[in-house]
């Protein structure tokens, strides 16, 4: 466990320190959501109806914002070579790096949702529902994203390619995330059905994401 603990602590430190980009995602999320009422107008009923979808879209884009640096930064300074030589299975290293990234990027998005819900005229219960679905769904976004991050590792402008590669794959997560939120707020569908599928999507992307990303990294080193 010790090598994995080392990389986990390092990635958390790097994200928190100057230039690490830990807070960038939350700021971007804040800006996107704050701009929405200005664009849509002061129709409170409309805002409440599309609120969960806006929050989900904002969180989706914000969670991909800093993901391109996940492996590219280690590639540029030579750290990735040494990580590959460590003797720790690459899949586990990828999983730990993704977990550290989610803790510093995905989790803060979930935490600020109750605040941002106010801009969207969501009451407490609706905000809690969106926060809960984001808590279950943002890990899927991160673990799908690491595939794109590892494919675009050696590219200078990898971030753009990453978004193009990853966003289509996140469509199911978006659909079930928003529909679970709406089921909890408006009904009449039961909340459990889409929410369970959302949890399943997160678990599946955990398994597929880390193996695909590790394979892409190994291949990309050639």
């Amino acid at each position: 466990m010790s090598p994995l603990a080392a990389i986990f602590v390092r990635d958390l430190r790097l994200a928190i320190r100057v230039g690490g980009g830990g807070g960038i995602g939350v700021l971007f999320f804040l800006i996107v959501v704050v701009l929405m009422p200005f664009a849509i107008g002061p129709d409170l009923a409309l805002l409440a109806r599309i609120g969960p979808a806006i929050l989900w879209l904002g969180a989706l884009l914000a969670s991909l914002l800093t993901l391109d640096r996940l492996f590219a930064a280690d590639h540029e300074d030579g750290s990735l070579d040494l990580i590959l030589m460590g003797g720790t299975p690459l899949e586990l290293t990828v999983a730990v790096k993704a977990l550290a990234h989610w803790l510093t990027t995905g989790l803060p998005l979930v935490i600020v949702v109750p605040l941002l819900g106010l801009f969207m005229n969501l009451d407490g219960r609706a905000s809690a529902a969106v926060a809960l679905t984001l808590l279950a769904g943002t890990p899927a976004l991160t673990f799908i994203g690491v595939i794109g991050a590892s494919l675009s590792v050696a590219l200078r402008r990898g971030g753009l390619l990453l978004a193009v590669l990853v966003l289509p794959l996140t469509v199911p997560v978006l659909i079930f995330g928003v529909s679970a939120s709406n089921a909890a707020i408006i009904g009449p569908l039961p909340f459990g059905t889409p929410f369970t599928i959302l949890c399943a999507l997160s678990l599946v992307s955990l398994v597929i994401g880390i193996f695909a990303a590790a394979a892409a990294l190994r291949h990309g080193m050639e």
Binding site: S2, V9, L14, G19, G78, M85, M221
Partner: protein
């Protein structure tokens, strides 16, 4: 222990970098890899490190730790320093010591490694403030903080001042004396007595 390559071949980007390359280096011996630019010195080191796939030939290590691969018993010191500017000197070294060594490093070991490369007083300084030579020294400290028998050094003296070059050669001698293997790509004479030379591209 003995590291041997026979008939090594490597093709990168559709171009043959080298083919039919043989070398053999035993414990306590240094192999200096020389040759013109682009002849494949760095590629050979990366092949031994397991970072570039061989397209032919065989690389064997006999008498080493049978549980681990050549990659896991090698230290690779490349052109890039693998340091994070926002972490301190001590944090950078502790991270690699724990990641590569597999266990939480002892504080004395880290201090000793930093002192050996002349960075003992800078442990709490963010790595962003280091000069090129100091960054290089911090990378070299990694070789001391974690014990691995094979050192793969790519132009190890680059960016180092005269004094640091001498102390690096001293560290290399000590590593060889303890039975380790060194393979170094270099342009100039490095000051190691009795080192074998592998000249790439000479007969091509």
């Amino acid at each position: 222990m003995r590291l041997e390559g026979s008939g090594l071949a490597c093709i990168r980007g559709g171009r043959e970098v080298f083919a039919g390359l043989d070398f053999s280096v035993g414990g306590g011996e240094a192999l200096l890899i020389t040759g013109r630019n682009g002849v494949g010195k760095s590629t050979l080191l990366r092949v031994i490190a397991g970072l570039v796939r061989l397209t032919g030939g065989e690389l064997t290590l006999s008498g080493g730790d049978g549980e681990n691969t050549v990659t896991e018993q090698s230290h690779y010191l490349g052109h890039l320093d693998a340091l994070k500017p926002s972490l301190t000197v001590g944090e950078n070294l502790r991270f690699w010591a724990q990641y590569l060594g597999g266990a939480k490093p002892a504080a004395e070991g880290i201090d000793a490694a930093l002192t050996a490369v002349g960075l003992g007083t800078l442990a709490d300084l963010p790595a962003a403030y280091l000069s090129a030579g100091q960054r290089r020294r911090l990378s070299i400290a990694r070789l001391l903080a974690v014990k691995r028998p094979i050192w793969l050094l790519d132009e190890p003296t680059a960016a180092l001042d005269r004094e640091a070059q001498d102390s690096l050669v001293d560290l290399m001698r000590r590593h060889l004396a303890s039975g380790g293997i060194i393979a170094a790509a270099t342009h100039g004479p490095i000051g190691l007595d009795g080192a074998r030379e592998l000249r790439l591209g000479a007969d091509a």
